[in-house]
Amino acid sequence: MSRPFLPGADPVGAALRGFARAHAGLVELSEDPVHLRARERDPRRSVGLVSGGGSGHEPLHAGFLGRGMLDAVAPGQVFASPHNRQVLHASRAAAGSGGVLHVVKNYTGDRINFGIAAERLRHEGIEVRRVLVDDDLATDSEQTATGRRGTGATVVVEKLLGAAADEGRGLDELADLGAAFAAASRSLAVAARAQTSPHTGSPAFDLGPAELEYGVGIHGERAAKTVDRPPLEELLPRMVDELLAALPPGPDDLLVLVNGLGATTQLELYAIFERVAADLDARGLDIRESLVGTFVPALDMAGFSLTLTRLHDGWSQWWRAPARTPAFPCQDQEAIR
């Protein structure tokens, strides 16, 4: 990696050291193998929550370490799965009396490395279960058995699980809840410019000013479709249509996440939210919760993802439960006890 403002040697390591120093009150970094731990957890929590995955999606996951969300994370290199040993150590550090729950975005490498760590943990007598996040609609109908990618909904799952774990729930119950959170969520993403290639300093793929990648993921790959860029007034209802059609039936109460992919301004993200919200109002749906910002980017891609989660009974309250982390916004939450 030689992005303009990353050191050539060990860029992820440098960033993690900087992160740990800036948030020393909240997190702790171990370097061999690389993983981070929250310094504090709710005393009622008996199951440790562990996540991780490739870097380049910050603040995911390390930004969500802390009371009310994750207990430990294992960050890989940019766009590359963490090693199972990182997950193993993160999980050992996080495991509570009730074991450890892995929150895994659906990518083969992540699944395998978390899976191997789980095998090793079980041999050590630590109970492990896994929640697979697979919200990306654009990969719904692939030929291979890999299934939908995990993208923006990961924040939602991590937040809701954190609050549920703080109620002292057990491993199996949390694993089932996590699966339900993921199942009730779908995302769709578009991009107007690729992330800057570390090698050329130019966008990693070309896209004309009137074109749009429709259905991108978070690893900077092209989408399945390149379309003529429709005006926002057409694009957003189309995305909402597809998301609503894909969501399993459930309550009409929604959580809306408008997530920037890296280089998208807050002006854009909030304007998108305003349009989407008006559209959902017109459809008679109820936006109970929302989150707007850059939470799961693909380096500095210019684009956004839209995530809808159907909120079942009690989920809203978990969404609003306090979290004290480097990156999850605290604004609309009750005070930390």
Binding site: G109, R111, I112, G115, I116, E119, H123, A145
Partner: protein
């Protein structure tokens, strides 16, 4: 001890097969399988030399492959080696059968692939089945079954792993991971029940 001899034999066999394993992964993947497996085994050999270990050595192999070896296959081999180590420690008589079965189960849980998906499972599952079947010549049967399974992958289309992106392009060439597994059981038979059966690389079933 027999275990260590199997491992030693495996180190040598993989060193010899390195070019072929690389070629197979070039056809269906990114070409690093031969490197991953050889480097891992060489590291195991060095650790065994350094500690002067007299045991079967699979515990070391499990740890090295789980902790240090890259690629998808590295830690999957590590799981298998660890289960074999545990089972041999528990009961050397049934160790290979039980360890292989437990390794197979772990790799299936972790890799979430099925036999038929063109992975190392296509060699490991038949080997495990033969080891579990009562009767004479289990090691030789297992070696033959693994080799046959590995070669059968040449006609399979990958659903998991990197090869799944290649689609039909890899047809006609066996899966490198499966071939690596077949080599392991060939070494096992060669050590436990000599003379060595025909090499899986030499003998397209």
């Amino acid at each position: 001890m027999t275990g260590s001899s199997v491992l030693r034999r495996y180190v040598a066999a993989v060193a010899e097969a390195h070019a072929e394993l690389t070629r197979l992964d070039q056809a269906s993947g990114d070409g690093d399988f031969g490197d991953n497996l050889r480097a891992g085994l060489e590291r195991v050999a060095r650790e065994l030399d350094a500690t002067g270990s007299t045991g079967h050595g699979f515990e070391v192999a499990g740890r090295v492959f789980l902790d240090e070896v890259g690629g998808t296959s590295g830690p999957l081999f590590g799981l298998l080696f660890s289960e074999i180590a545990r089972a041999l420690d528990h009961d050397p008589a049934t160790g290979w059968a039980e360890g292989t079965a437990a390794g197979l189960a772990a790799i299936r849980r972790v890799g979430e692939a099925e036999p038929g998906d063109r992975t190392l499972l296509d060699a490991l599952a038949p080997a495990s089945a033969e080891l579990a079947r009562p009767g004479e010549g289990a090691f030789r049967r297992a070696a033959r079954a693994a080799a046959a399974g590995a070669h059968a992958t040449a006609t399979m289309r990958a659903r998991q792993g990197r090869a799944s992106y290649v689609g039909a392009r890899a047809l006609g060439v066996p899966d490198p991971g499966a071939m690596g597994i077949a080599l392991l059981f060939w070494c096992l038979a060669a050590v436990q029940d000599p003379p060595a059966p025909p090499s899986p690389l030499a003998h397209p079933t």
